[in-house]
């Protein structure tokens, strides 16, 4: 079977800076893949390229055998790639329910005329999807709260719930555990595992090595925009190239 996501020789330049250079990689159906690398390696940029959030400089991305390189971000989302953001982008003035309904609206489409005519079935579908996503993320109790009033940890779940309301096939998480304590991180790991067991493919960036190593079946390592390793957690943790990349970046930081 072909991979769910196929990244082919993708590059992104910001002026002279090669944020992502000639990156290739895959996510198989149902797989949990981790993407790791030092700060500034280009991980977030790669996610932005996959979701067509930023345009590619070179290369192409295939999702479910379809070339998505030239699509718009909302079209990619509708095809089934949902994401969260490194710097938490919930809509603070909207209620939790309304936040999550955004994902459902993305999946089912939004027409002013269905609003004018008060299409009941459409509204029911949006509600059902929103409730399902809220329940999956354990947020049904806070549905009517304004998002800004949620704790940081809960807002992370809110962002994931919103992505789940899209009913994606691939979920992309950018540093989901950042800012969480150990207990919360462990809970999040279980939650992602549960989603994966339900058939969702996962691609995530995380600096918490323990989290990535226990959760992911395969890990891609990135440094200075390039892929330097790709393998099981076992293989990656024993790879001298990977160790050097991390140590190298630490030396630079120290300097």
């Amino acid at each position: 079977m072909t991979p769910l996501l196929e990244i082919k020789n993708v590059s992104r330049y910001f002026g002279g800076l090669h944020a992502v250079e000639d990156f290739s990689g895959q996510v198989q159906r149902g797989e949990r893949v981790g993407l790791i690398g030092p700060n500034g390696a280009g991980k977030t940029t790669l996610f932005n390229l996959i979701t067509c959030f930023t345009p590619l400089s070179a290369g192409s991305v295939f999702f479910d055998d379809k070339d998505i390189s030239s699509l718009k971000a909302y079209q990619v989302a509708r095809l089934g790639i949902a994401r969260t953001f490194q710097n938490l982008r919930v809509m603070p003035n909207l209620s939790v329910f309304d936040n999550v309904s955004i994902g459902a609206l993305g999946a089912l489409g939004h027409s002013p005329f269905s609003a004018l005519l008060h299409h009941r079935n459409y509204a029911k579908d949006i509600s059902r999807r929103t409730w399902d996503a809220l329940e999956q993320a354990g947020l049904q109790g806070q549905a009517s709260e304004v998002a800004a009033n949620l704790s940081y940890g809960k807002r992370k779940y809110l962002e994931i719930a919103r992505a789940l309301a899209l009913s994606p096939r691939l979920l992309i998480l950018d540093e989901p555990a950042a800012g969480l304590n150990d207990t919360e991180t462990a809970q999040l790991g279980e939650f992602v595992m549960k989603l994966s067991k339900e058939g969702l493919s996962i691609l995530l960036v995380e600096h918490d090595m323990n989290f990535v190593m226990t959760l992911c079946e395969r890990i891609m390592v990135m440094a200075s925009g390039r892929k330097i390793a790709d393998g099981t957690p076992q293989e990656i943790s024993n790879d001298p190239v990977v160790l050097e990349a991390y140590l190298g970046s630490e030396e630079e930081e120290a300097a």
């Binding site: 979701t51 909302y74 953001f85 994902g103 509600s127």
Partner: protein
């Protein structure tokens, strides 16, 4: 049930109580004041769709108001069209102009969009002023027929009040459904974080154009009502200062809040009338009301978040009256 009561109360207030009071206090003049407030309520409710709900600060709304007014004035004076044709057609013409003019600005955000729409408003104003063959320039267009239906009713201050009131109710109904439904959530998502909204599958440019189209439609209808009810229009009615007035009404009432838009229009136009006995000081009072309401209630007198909940509950726009959030299947 709750919905029927709310709708009945609203209709009774607008169609019976207010005109009743106006008649008691002397009719005529007060009906004209209320007609102006009604026209500006429609303008503010519609501008609120773009600026309050979708989050695009528009400073050119008076321009679209002007297009609608001139469309109606010309259609009724040159071709003798009755109000029930001029109003919707003027709305459609204005919406078409709105879409055409707005298309190039759709990629702009924040202050850039505001300045671009300010420019659009000025272009429209200057065009009305200088295209003398078509608009009669600064002389304006006079002798625009009022709202009449031969054999049924004739133009009068009362008729005009009812024409504006009923149109405002229709506008409130349409804009209310757009903003209090799930579709409204999509518009608010564009306002809160357009890039994130796009990543969640929302067609951001489409939503912006749609809100512009609906807002311009009602701005055009408001212009048409202005033309019919005053009988005379000139480019001076549709200047930048009107756009600013609309913006002020919106902010005082509460950005993104439909009842707030109406309240803003009532306060900023009604207050100067009430305070007429104190002469020129009254504008100081109006300014102070604006200043302090923003200072103490920056989200407006009727802020969006609580009003959304209340209106959804009272008018059955929520999908589940109990939780006010959505059907549980």
């Amino acid at each position: 049930m709750r919905r029927i009561i709310s709708v009945s109360l609203l209709l009774a207030a607008v169609l019976i109580v207010v005109p009743g009071i106006l008649t008691l206090v002397g009719g005529g003049y007060w009906f004209r004041v209320m007609t102006t407030i009604g026209v500006f309520s429609i303008l503010t409710m519609s501008a609120n769709l773009i600026t309050g709900t979708t989050g695009l600060m528009s400073l050119g709304h008076a321009g679209f108001y002007g297009i609608g007014a001139y469309a109606t004035a010309l259609l009724s004076t040159k071709f003798g069209w009755p109000f029930y044709l001029t109003l919707p057609v003027s709305g459609a013409i204005t919406a078409a102009f709105g879409i055409l003019l707005a298309l190039p600005t759709m990629r702009l955000i924040g202050i850039y969009f505001a300045v671009a729409t300010l420019g659009l408003g000025e272009i429209i104003h200057v065009t009305l002023l200088n295209w003398v063959d078509f608009t009669r320039g600064p002389m304006g267009i006079s002798a625009i027929p009022g709202v009449t239906l031969p054999g049924v009713f004739t133009a009068s201050d009362t008729t005009h009040y009812y024409a504006v009131a009923i149109t405002a109710l229709i506008a409130a109904f349409v804009l209310g459904r757009l903003t209090h439904s799930y579709y409204g959530n999509a518009l608010r998502a564009v306002r809160e974080d357009d890039q994130c909204a796009a990543s969640m599958g929302l067609n951001v440019v489409g939503l912006k154009i749609q809100s512009f189209a609906f807002a311009c439609f009602f701005a055009g209808v408001a212009g048409g009502l202005w033309a019919h009810t005053t009988g005379y229009i000139s480019p001076g009615d549709f200047r930048f200062s009107e756009s600013i007035l609309i913006l002020a009404m919106m902010v005082v009432g509460g950005l993104g809040s439909l009842p707030g838009a109406v309240l803003g229009a009532v306060i900023l136009l009604g207050l100067p009338e009430f305070l007429r006995p104190i002469g020129d000081y009254r504008m100081i009072v109006v300014g102070a009301v604006m200043f302090f309401s923003i200072l103490f209630l920056p989200r407006g007198l009727l802020g969006e978040t609580p009003v959304l909940t209340v209106v959804r509950r009272q008018f059955g726009l929520a999908w589940d009256a109990k939780s006010n959030l959505g059907w549980r299947q």
